[in-house]
Amino acid sequence: MRRGLALAAVALCIAAVTAGAQKQTAQDPLDRAMRDELARSMTELRLDTLPKPYFVAYRIDDIETIEATASLGSLLSGSDARTRHLRVELRVGDYDFDNSNFMGMGGGPAFSMLAGLRGGALLPLDDQYQEIRRQLWLASDGAYKRAVEQLAQKRAALQNQTRAEHLPDFAKEPPAVLTDVVPAPPLDRAAAEALVRGLSAAFRAFPEVYSSGVSWSAGVVRTRYLNSEGSAFTRSSPWLVLRIHAATQAVDGMPLGDVVTLYGGAPTDLPGRDHLADSVRALATRLTRLRQTPVAEVYNGPVLFEGDAAAELFNQVFAPRLVAARRPMAANPMMEQFAARAETPFLDQIGGRVLPTFLSAVDNPTLTTFEGRYIGGYRVDDDGVAARETRLVDHGILKTLLSTRVPARGIPHSSGNRWGAAAVVSNLVVSADSGVTDQALRAELLKRAAARGRPYAVIVRRIANAASLAMSDPMEFMAAMGDDESDAPALRAAVAVKLFPDGHEEPIRNAAVSGVTAASFKDIVAASRSRTVYTSPFRSPGGMFAGLTGGGGMSFQMASAGLGYAASYVVPSLLFEDVTVKGPNGDLPKPPLSGPPWAGSSPR
C-alpha cells in the first residue's frame, strides 16, 4: 500500500535543519530510547579490533489497521490490529566502501534466536523507555555482528575480482529534520464492516457473477526515524483502499475476472456510498455482458490505450525502468548472474531518447492531488531525504532515474524516492506538448488502421493488474508468481473494444496485449490532451535486491502488515502503431453444472 497519502489541506510542515534533531522531542520515551541507544552504538559498539559502525539508523513504524471483507452481503472476515516494528540499518566501513551492495554467502551464525539478526524486532506497544531500549540494544547488536561479517566477506571476495566500475556504497546527503504529519483516517471497524456488507450485497442481483467480494482496508503508519548523521523525521502515512472484485466464467467456460480498486488518504477522497454502489453494479453488469461477448481474435495493428489502460501500461512496462537499481557485488559466479538482473537497462540510456519528443515525464512525491483528484504522496523518504520533483524524461530524452542513497552508475545522489528497501515511482506525471482531443485521437487510430488494411481498430480501456487480481483469487496469485519479468509481459485487457470506421464499438473479451516493451514507448505516435489520474500496485525491480544487500536492514515489516505499495500516474491516452491483441490459448474449464443458489433470493 502506498503510504504518505498526505492531504495538502491539513497541517503539514517541512523544515530543513542541519542538526539538532535531539532537542525536539526529548520528552517522548521512544525518541529518548532511540537517541540514547544510537549514541551508545556509535561510540561503544565494536568487537575486538573490528571497526565501529560509521552509520546507524533506527526506524520505528507504528502500524494501525482495520480490515473487512464481505461477499454477497455477508462478512467473510474483519480485523483490527496495531503493531510496532523496529528496523535497524547499520553500516561498517565508510561511505566509499562498506558492508552493503554485496550478495554474500549468507554467513552469520548458523542459527540464532537473537532477534537482532533478523534486522529488527517487534516492539512493545506500551511506551516503556527501558523495553524499547532493550530491543534497540539487541537489534543493534545483531545488525552489527552481521555487518562486520558481511564486510569481511566482501573484502575477501574483492581479492579475487577486479571491479569494472568504482561506485561509492552510500551517498552523503545533507542531514535534515523533517515532519510530515497528517490526521489519521477514522479507523472504525463496525462502520467498515457495515460498508462492505452493504456494497457486496448488490452482487446478489447478478446470478451470472459466480464469485465476488468487497474489501476495505484502512490504516496509518506512524514512523519515527533517527540516524547518526543527525537526520530525523516523523511521518504519518494514512491510507484507505476499497477493492471490489468479481469473477465468473464466460458461456464457453473461459474464466473472467476484474478488480476495481479505489485509493484515498481520507474518506472524502473516495466517492460517496451511492457512487460506490454504482461501481459495484457497473462491474457486475460489465462481467455479465462480457460472458456472452465473442472472444478476442488475433489483431495486429494500431491500438489506442485510453485513460486507465495507458496508466497501467506505464505502471507495468515503463515505470519499473525508471528506478535506478544497482547490481550488487556477488561472492561467487553463480550469484553474479542473479545479481546482474538487478540492473535496469535505462542506466545506459541516460541522454538517449526513450519517449517521443512530444512527451515529458516527472516524478513528484510532494503532489497530493492532481486537478482535485487524490493521488497521495510524501514529503520525506525512508532515508530521511526530503522528497522533491525529479525531471525524468524531457521531450523524449531520459535525464536521470529515481534513486535512494545507494549510488548507481551516473546517479551519484538520492532523488528522495526510497520507500521500503528500494526506490519507487511515487507520482509519475506525463505531459504531451502536442496533445490532441479524444475525438481526434480516435480519428487518427481509424486512419492508421485503414492504412494497414484493418476492418476495425482496437481500443483498450483497462488493463488488469496481476498483483491486484491475486489478492482475491489464489489461482491468479499462482499465475502472477509465474509471470516472468521479461521485456514484454502479457497484459490482460479487462476492457477492450473494436472500433469500426462508422464509429460504432463492439466489446471483445479475454484479450491479451503483447508486444509492448519499454522500447516501444518511443514509437508512440500520438497522445491525448486529456489526462487520467490513476493509482495501482507498483513492483519496484530493485526491491528484492535492496532487501538482500542493504546495510543491515530489511523491510519485511511492511509485507508482514499486508501493505503493498501503489504508485500514482497522471497520463494521457496513448496511440501505439503496432501492437498484438489476441485471445487466450489452451483448454477451457467447463461452466458450473448448476446455477448459483442465491439466484432470486434477496439480501438480508
Binding site: 461477499s71 472476515s77 474483519g78 534466536m113 532477534a115 516492539l123 512493545p124 506497544l125 464469485s211 448459483p596
Partner: protein, 551 residues
Amino acid sequence: MAAGAQARATSPVLDAMRTELTRSLTTFKGQPTAPYFLSYEISEAHTVNVAGSFGAITQSAEHRHRALDVDLRVGDYRFDNTHPLRGGLPGRAFMGFGEGMAEIPVDDDPGAIRAALWYATDRKYKRAVEQLTWVKTNAAVGVAAEDTAPDFSAEQRETFTEPVARIGADRRVWEEKIRRYTAPFARYGDIYEAEAVFIAEVDSRWYVNSEGTEVQTSQPIYRLYVSAFSKADDGMELPRYESFWAFTPEGLPSDRAVLAAVQKMIDDLHALRRAPALEPYTGPAILSGRASAVFFHEVFGHRVEGHRQKLGIEGQTFKKKVNEQVLPPGFSVYFDPTLRRLAGTDLAGFYRYDDEGVKARRVAVVDHGTLKTFLMARSPIEGFASSNGHGRAQLGLPPVARQSNLVVETAEPHSQAELKRMLIDEIKRENKPYGLLFDDIEGGFTITMRFIPNAFNVMPVMVYRVYPDGREELVRGVDFIGTPLTTFSKIVAADDHVAVFNGMCGAESGWVPVSAVSPALLVSQVEVQKKLKSGERPPILPPPFGAAATP
C-alpha cells in the same frame, strides 16, 4: 450420550449446508459420473490473542474466520477418486489444487454460505471426475497394491448439536496479566527474549454428509504460553518453556502460580548458564512423565496412525505386528478423545466427534504389550474396515488419522524413589559413571517415511546427570535421539506419577490439539546427541539499564 439423544437445536449453518448438499446431489445425479459421497465441514476459529514481552504488550487482537472442506467422492467405497497412486502417493493430497476449500462468511447468512459451498462443490466435482480417470488408469498399469483395503468406509449416521460457545475472556484483563507475568524477566540483562502469549479460542465445527450425519460442536480453549531464553558464554542457546491449557478461563492457574512458574524459569535459566555441557552419551535414563508422554506421542503415536499403514512410502513400523508384542508386557496404551480431564489437568485432545462426523471413542491400541489396532479415520486398511473416530484436521484441511489423548498405563507402578533406585542399580550394573534424568522437554519430532531413516528426536530442556551416590547435576546441550523399535525394547519400568503434556501436533492435515499422558519411565539405554548450537556470542555491550546480577 447416545447419538441423536439431544434435541436438535436450530442451526442456520447446518440448515444451509444440508440444503446445498441436497441440491448438489440432485444436480450431479444427471451426470454420467455421479458422486457416491459428499460432505461439508465448516470450521470457525474465533480467537483473542494477547502477547507481551518483558512487562509490555506487543500484540493484542481478536479474529474470527471460517473455512470449508468439501469431501466429494466418485466411484464407490471400494475404489474411488482418492485411491492412492502407484508409488504410494495419496491421490487426495497430491492431485488437487485446493478445490473444495473456501472462505465462508462468519454471518449466519444461508444465501452467502450456500454460494460459497456451491462454487467449491462444482470445482471439486470436476476435479474428482478427472481424478477417478487417472487413478483407474494408474491402478490398471501398476503392480498389485500392497494394501487391498477399500478407499472409504461406510459409517453410522450421527446427529448432534451443541450451542456455539462464547469467548469468556476480557482482552483488557489479559493485557494486564501478560504485563505482570513477563515483568519479572525484565530485571535480567542475560535473558534475551521473554514472551507470554494468551490465546482464547472457540473452535466451532459444522459437519453434514450424504449419509445423513449432521454434527455441530463448539469448544472453547484457553492457553497460556511463557517462553524465555538466555545464552551460555559459549553461545549455546538456552530456552525454557511453560504452557497451561484449560477449557475454562478458571481452569488456568492463578496469577500467583504463574508468577511462581516464571520465577522457576528464571532460576532454571541462570542455573543452565552455569551448567556444564553434556557430551554424547549412551546409558540408562529416567524420562519424567512429561518427557515420556512426548516420547510416546512422537515415537509410538505417529506410527499407529492408520493411513500411514496404507501408503507405500511410509515406514509402516507396526503394520505387520498386530497381535504381536511391541512393548514390555506390563504396558498398555490407549487413545481416548472422550477423556476431558486427567491427573488434575484438562486434556487438549478431547472432542466429541471427529472431522468426518464420526463419534469419538476410546481405542485400546496396546493391551499388556500387545498391539491390537490402529487409529482410524475413514480410510480403511487391511483388517481394519472402519473409522474409530480419529479423522482430524486443522480448520479447512482434509482430515487424516491423528492422535487424540494418548494414555500410557503400567500394570506394575513403582514409587518415584524406587524408580531412581532402579536407575542407580542399572548404572552400577552397566558400570557407567552416571545415568540421565530427562525432566522437562520442549517438544519433539519424528520421521515415519521410508526415504529418510526412521528416527525421532525429543528436545529436552532440563536434563540431570544422576551419579551412583544419588547426587543430581544439571547439564545442558543435548537431544534425546534413537530409533523406535530399539528404544521400546529398552523400557524397563514406570513409576506411579502420571504427568500430562498438552500441545499442538503438526502433520499433513495441519495442527491439531493433542494430549499425552504417561508415568515416568526407566529406560535401560538411551542415546543423546549434541544440540545444534548457535555460533553467535552473547551481546557485545551490557544491557542499557541497571540489570540485576545473575544470582
